[in-house]
Symmetry: C2
Subunit: 338 residues, 2 copies
């Protein structure tokens, strides 16, 4: 098997305690023995065993990350940030794909509990009571990213969706649009669904434009297909609509795709603004104007928060709203120009 600290000790003719001290940079040995031991380590190719270490330190230097959809573009950008910060902080990350079904989440949480992860990042999903109980049992820090919890006091990192939607809508209004529709998410979704619809509604109303429930189509998810199917619906309700706000980039691009098929030119006949700023937003044609969530940053800061909580620096890290921006590309036209 791999050489252990004992082998090194024997080889260098010292005790294991001394080797341990040298490996961990603790004081208590001469320069001479240090060299001797380091040579033995080299010679044997010794690598400390993190498992044994974890057992005694009660620290695994590992965090768990739960995503409802690992392969989703949103998740993967957040993951990149998380992984980055974790690595910088000396942690590894175990990814768990909860597949947006509850049963698997609990299984994963139990697994992470058994593996004694030092902390958890929980993404894009609502925190159910069941989950929260396990969090408490585990007694490890948890931070929510791209979600939040009304019921439980857990630190989160996200953008203010109400404001984001509000400003996206006002952006369209300022471009001279008067009849604006929205492709929305789910009314059941208190995180990304409802606030974006409310922001949209508020923007219309505070700018003196009419708002009815027919201005929004509701969807189960936030996928391409949802957007594609929503456009015709919306068009039926609002035939003279000149612009629309989609609650996700995927839906926005779905709508663009539907528009192409219907022979509606974007942005000449229909302006579209999205939400997320995924990588695809600049790849589609026309490039999508959208509300940019700093996804990677969000992953990164959430992980930094978690790490500092683990290290005990901040017992109660406080939640953060991340800044969003509207990135202007070419899917929105300015009616004033005509």
């Amino acid at each position: 098997m791999n050489p252990t600290i004992k082998d090194v000790a024997k080889h260098a003719n010292v005790s294991i305690a001394t080797v341990s001290r040298i490996v961990n940079g603790l004081p208590g040995y001469s320069e001479e023995t240090k060299k001797k031991v380091q040579q033995s380590i080299e010679a044997l190719g010794y690598q400390p065993n993190a498992i044994a270490r974890g057992l005694i330190n009660k620290r695994t230097q590992t965090i768990g990350v739960l995503f409802p959809d690992v392969s989703g573009m949103l998740s993967s950008e957040v993951l990149e940030g998380v992984e980055n910060a974790a690595h910088d902080g000396g942690f590894s990350v175990i990814v768990c794909n909860t597949t947006s079904s509850g049963k698997r989440t609990v299984k994963y949480l139990r697994l992470l509990q058994e593996k004694r992860v030092d902390g958890i990042i929980f993404a894009s999903e609502d925190v159910k009571e069941e989950y929260y109980k396990i969090f408490q049992e585990m007694k490890v820090p948890v931070v929510l990213v791209s979600t939040a919890s009304a019921k439980y006091d857990l630190p989160f990192v996200r953008v203010n969706d109400f404001d984001g939607a509000f400003q996206a809508t006002e952006y369209l209004i300022h471009k001279g649009h008067k009849v604006i529709g929205m492709i929305g998410g789910s009314e059941e979704d208190p995180i990304a669904g409802v606030p974006r619809m409310q922001g949209f509604q508020k923007a219309l109303e505070s700018n003196g434009l009419t708002y009815t429930k027919y201005h929004i189509t509701k969807n189960e998810g936030y996928r391409f297909q949802n957007g594609k199917e929503s456009l015709p619906q919306l068009l039926k309700e609002l035939p003279n609509m000149t612009a629309l706000f989609a609650a996700s980039d995927e839906m926005a691009i779905g709508a663009m795709s539907a528009a192409h098929q219907l022979g509606i030119r974007v942005p000449e006949e229909l302006s579209i603004i999205g939400y997320d700023n995924l990588k695809i937003a600049e790849m589609c044609y026309p490039p999508l104007t959208t509300v940019s969530q700093p996804l990677k940053d969000m992953g990164q800061t959430s992980c930094e928060m978690l790490v500092s909580m683990i290290k005990g620096e901040k017992q109660e890290a406080k939640s953060r709203y991340m800044p969003f921006t509207i990135v202007e590309r070419q899917s929105v036209s300015d009616l004033h120009d005509k």
Copy 2:
């Protein structure tokens, strides 16, 4: 702290050995004590400590996955498959983002070694000697996904890129195209770069079409931007080109984007076929015809192979070429129809 096996033993008035046997389903106790112990486990909320278990079993039930670009769409789809299979096999996955630079790869490999992962999945990157040495030191199974190694005998899971490129090109030829360009990857890349160019060349030549080095633009990467910049170049060399094969979907979509800007209609004036079949392939407009790599499947089977190697079922799992297919969408026109 969390209750340990000792606490359970005390609570149930048995020895820790008995508790261990019951927890692990080994024989050697009466139904009566089993019940008693299970009740104690319930009462205390005992969860076995996987770290302690790992220490003694020399099995962590964890695998490491190395990607050069975690947030890339290709990686994330593969990751989903890997995660899935790992979970089914009772393993957790630690993700590592090697960021396509070598230095970090070695650091990660060392880390995985310290954490005593049971196996490694290595994706989309060339296996350098340095890495291979560590693989050997670690003495754990490794499987390559979406890559392969000429020098080292490591099992891989991938598609045959030469064939894929060949068929993609023939697809265009069968649609009546005579002047076909390619947006290629890197000549330095023996995995995804060279074989795809060779497949392209071979297809042209065996169908009696002219091939020159000007038929291919070479690129450092496989990204959107590479494709976008390549189209004008290619058009300069081949002004009467009617179709092109891009070595990745991102590049294909980059080319589509450039075409839009240049006022070239796809597919009427220019047909484009991609490679990968990422999710964006069906989201762009027009939807991209492309050669489909079963990304998720590849992740899944590579992980299944790894797990069975870990379990010792197959000492030497053999490499697998996965089937690709050409999925026809709307970015290629049939010249015979005119």
